[in-house]
């Protein structure tokens, strides 16, 4: 999964920001990251912000901020981005933590309280974050956020509880990497119940509950959930979905009105795959996994 950096963000190519070249393509998105032996992400970001074209930036990808000191959380990084918000008036998309497995294990990334970003950028439409350890979004009250992506090896239930108490009237795309309990997942189906049974986000059209080691439980719960009535796409990919969850989905009336059901990377049997393929709506059942002596693994486990 995270064997490569983002190559696209908000429909634009992502380029590494190199101070000696500066911003040559202000219409594209830059990734600001430091190498393992560089010490100062703050300095590099300051150079980016002081570039004459920085004010045109619509999106920014924050890559590795910690160099060799992997105990460094995102706190200073977040603070600096917040402080420089006035210099980035066109910024409406942020990805915090675009690091590959070459740089750090996802579950070893130390995040922080990222909620100041929502206050500092009222025009924010897209927010993505990678790394669940110490991640805190709080209850978000934001009028313009359309896309929220949280990538973790194990999602904390408090993050979800706070999220579901948030006010996000514009939210159309919610994508959560649930992860495994080995790597910090404390989210259970009951934490998701408010989302599944109520219309918390009336404009939500894409829901991703991905990379879940309790994918069968989630699939079973969502199969009967009212939220299906408002979705175009349901994404349960990258997890340990097996025939138990698959059968519940096939038996679901609500599933049938989806435009797209994404189940790629799964542990469904050939038979279930065939049944899904013959549905009237679009289903992705590619990348079938075979269990390892009864063991099933999520795609991003750590």
């Amino acid at each position: 999964m995270f064997n490569h950096h983002l190559t696209q963000f908000i429909g634009r190519p992502v380029r590494p920001y190199l101070p000696d070249q500066g911003i040559t393509h202000p219409e594209d998105v830059y990734r600001i990251s430091i190498d393992y032996d560089e010490a100062n992400w703050a300095h590099k970001f300051a150079q980016f912000v002081d570039d004459p074209q920085a004010h045109l930036a619509k999106g920014v990808v924050i890559g590795a901020w910690m160099g060799e000191d992997i105990s460094l959380s995102s706190a200073d990084t977040v603070a600096q981005v917040v402080a420089t918000a006035p210099k980035l008036p066109n910024l409406h998309a942020i990805f915090l933590g675009d690091m590959t497995f070459e740089e750090i294990e996802i579950s070893w990334i130390i995040q922080s309280d990222v909620s100041p970003l929502f206050t500092a950028f009222p025009a924010l439409t897209h927010f993505g974050v990678r790394g669940g350890d110490q991640l805190h979004l709080g209850r978000i009250d934001h009028q313009n956020l359309t896309t929220l992506i949280i990538e973790t090896g194990g999602l904390n239930s408090q993050v979800v509880t706070n999220l579901l108490a948030s006010t996000l009237p514009a939210l159309t795309h919610l994508e959560l990497y649930i992860g495994t309990d080995d790597y910090g997942r404390t989210v259970e189906v009951e934490h998701l119940t408010p989302l599944l049974s109520q219309s918390l986000f009336p404009n939500l059209r894409y829901l991703g509950l991905r990379d879940a080691d309790n994918a069968d439980d989630i699939a079973t719960a969502i199969a009967k959930a009212p939220i299906l009535g408002q979705l175009d796409t349901l994404d349960l990919s990258l997890g340990t979905l097996s025939d138990d969850g698959g059968k519940a989905l096939l038996a679901s009336a609500g599933i049938k009105q989806l435009q797209k059901l994404d189940l790629h990377y799964h542990y469904l049997s050939d038979d279930l795959m065939t049944q899904f393929a013959s549905q009237s709506f679009s289903v992705d059942v590619s990348d079938q996994q075979k269990d390892d002596d009864g063991w099933r693994y999520v795609a991003v486990g750590e």
């Binding site: 064997n3 490569h4 032996d37 060799e68 992997i70 070893w108």
Partner: protein, 382 residues
Amino acid sequence: MTTAGAMWRLVNKFVIIGSAEDQRIERFQAALTRVGLPAAHFVDYPDLIKGHITLGDILERGDILRIESPGKSAETEQLLLQLGKHDVEPHFERSPSTRQPEGFIYASRQWYLGLCAVLDQIDSQRASAPPHHIMNGTDAIRTMFDKSATQKILQASGISIPFFFPPIHNYEQLRTQMTTLGIHRVFIKLAHGSSASGAIAYETNGRQEKATTTIEHDNQWRLFNSLRVRTLHDSATIRPLIDTLCRHRVHVEQWIPKGSLDQQRFDVRVLVIAGQAQHSVVRLSNSPFTNLHLGNNRKPIERLIDQTSLTQWKAVERTCQQAAACFPDAFYAGIDLLFTPNLNRHFILELNAFGDLLFHVYRDGMDTYEMQIRHFISQYTN
């Protein structure tokens, strides 16, 4: 281009020391045919080692000697282990005297000392042979098969390489050094391994640890190379694995994160021939190991140049040429290097004395062997 006839004025025949049935031999012979030259005289390592033939009987004035890889020949491997038996230092692994199952990692240091003994034998037989040429000299081969010695030479030359640790003999020592040096990710490689041999990519955040490797072990902690990448998270397995591997003599270096290209992490293999960077290929992987024999992807170098720049690529070629120049008797060297995630810096990872087996990579219409032949001979006909 000079004609075959003109080439023969100053050079005689090629003599290859290698492993029978190794595709390297077939490919080199095929390249000779394409160039319009007769097949090389082939000497099998076992025949040389056992004394069935001596180079003095074979080498004629103007011959070109090519020392090839000992390859995967089990017989040669055993002979090299035999030769190294008495020289291997007491704190390193000794090879069992019986044949072991497929993939078994034989005592690497012992094997290397045996290789050095064969190279010594070749040198002494050459000394009394008529004047002849040699492609890769024995000094280059000896040194390139010692990763620690090679990296020291590159470092002394000012070439950017990963930081390497002082000699590491066990897990405890590794952990202590990692803490002292503030380094949290390392590659543990066999100091005398080829690019096909196993390594361990090890990392820790102080609380958790993870080892990624193609090395497997049995109940008696015999180590085997496999083609499968697996990860270990449990200190109870990681510690003895590292302890056991260290007994083969290891080269431990900082794991510098690789950049990504086309959805995967990547590094690059560059073949330098006669001081010029030539055939190059991008090696992509979803694991820390990019070795092509693990079924990893490859892409043409143009793809990387697209994403970076020709200026940058020229700088990489210069670095590779500089690295190869540290080994004056190396006619060619296969050089592995990485780009950093911002794609603006590169580091030399390894030099391979037999690093010219590159499938489907052509430069100026030639494969790696044909280019070596033409370039080598043109040294003597211009």
